[in-house]
Symmetry: C2
Subunit: 261 residues, 2 copies
Amino acid sequence: MIIDSHSHVILPVDRHIDLMTKEGIDKTILFSTLVHPETASDYSEYKVEMTRLQKILRGKINPTDSRIKAINELKQIVKNYPDKFIGFGFCPIGLSLAQTDNWINEYVIGNSFKGIGEFTFGEGQVSKVKNVFKSVSSNDKYPLWFHTLYPLTKKDIKELLVLAKKYPNVIVILGHGAGSFWLETLEEIVNLKNVYFDISASFTTHSIKIASELIPERVLFSVDMPYGSPGVMKKIVDESVKDSAVKELILANNIKRLLEI
Amino acid sequence: MIIDSHSHVILPVDRHIDLMTKEGIDKTILFSTLVHPETASDYSEYKVEMTRLQKILRGKINPTDSRIKAINELKQIVKNYPDKFIGFGFCPIGLSLAQTDNWINEYVIGNSFKGIGEFTFGEGQVSKVKNVFKSVSSNDKYPLWFHTLYPLTKKDIKELLVLAKKYPNVIVILGHGAGSFWLETLEEIVNLKNVYFDISASFTTHSIKIASELIPERVLFSVDMPYGSPGVMKKIVDESVKDSAVKELILANNIKRLLEI
């Protein structure tokens, strides 16, 4: 069994499902998206989508409206294909504790999503997620999924791990496995049992080899569609993980256990 | 035909050649290495190699001796297997112009290497490679291969491109395709005909798709062994490049033309 534990909504949905079938992916943990680069047929169209993303991130296009539209798109797909998709719900950062509670109640719990993310923010903004940790710590059912590639720095990742240490009942998924800081991060999370290591966007097989040796029960397979390719990610696991029991953990069992699915 | 345009010496050499044969790689452009993580069988042994690397980079183990030992290791392998390997020679940065000329004469031209690199340095040090550009500009036969992932920043990569613009007859290979800054870098080098885009360590198929659309004659396939896997890199090309003529350029013809091999 293979579960893709992190991909974004790609359109049309049929294309996503066909790809899952072709690649032997049984289920996908689906995240909302503000743009659809997968619909671009060439550089010019890709650039239009990426420029739109920049406009939303800079507030030139209303970000809240865009986020809610994206959440509704995700909600509908998960509702239409409950056997194929499980949703994670977006949550803004920097809100008050009450606002964070309300948002999670309305847009995560209210939509029957199983976790929260993707949290993507700029350098030096980790302190803005404190209230999400506080809110979720009273309800440890909802793992938090963080983008830990650029623009996050080594310092940001360290700060995030301080929060993970402070809230040991909150599950933290390090999306994209801390990028260039994978080795020192792995060494730090060996004893942080609430922190998981997502392998999407990995740029060396060494990170996955060593993660699967140090924390085999906390490594999660994912593709990060549309930015990654299922075939490539499966190949990376095949080349990096030789123990078949560990491979089963990474490809499906770890996320099944975590989300109780 | 497939040419791996960037991998490091891995030991034993027979293992490298067996892997090339198995994966259908006809030739490898080989770079020296200070450490041999491929000989590690687990995390502890890997950590010993990486700690040794840190000691060399911080000068706790004599870096010049280590570099010359690594160059000699490379030279011997290229001499023993001239059909399989072509060497690129290491060159220190921050030397005077005369010292740089001497080094290139002795350790690059003297060893019949075909290019210079890998240049790997910290943030804010691009100005230290000026003399390498000056030295090579009088002899444009020697492409320069730069590591452009972390710790290089967006600003460093921009500075490197300023040098590439100033010395249009010097071939610059952006190793690892500028990492997180791949899109803006590709847009900037479309009209910089002396700048090439290396695909090793890529973390999204989008970068290779768009590079192969914008600058098909300047995209170079490489594995970056021991950090990358030939099977994974071939799969990335298969998934990203659908045009078979462009695929041939990327997998072999671009580097053949560049090095006249």
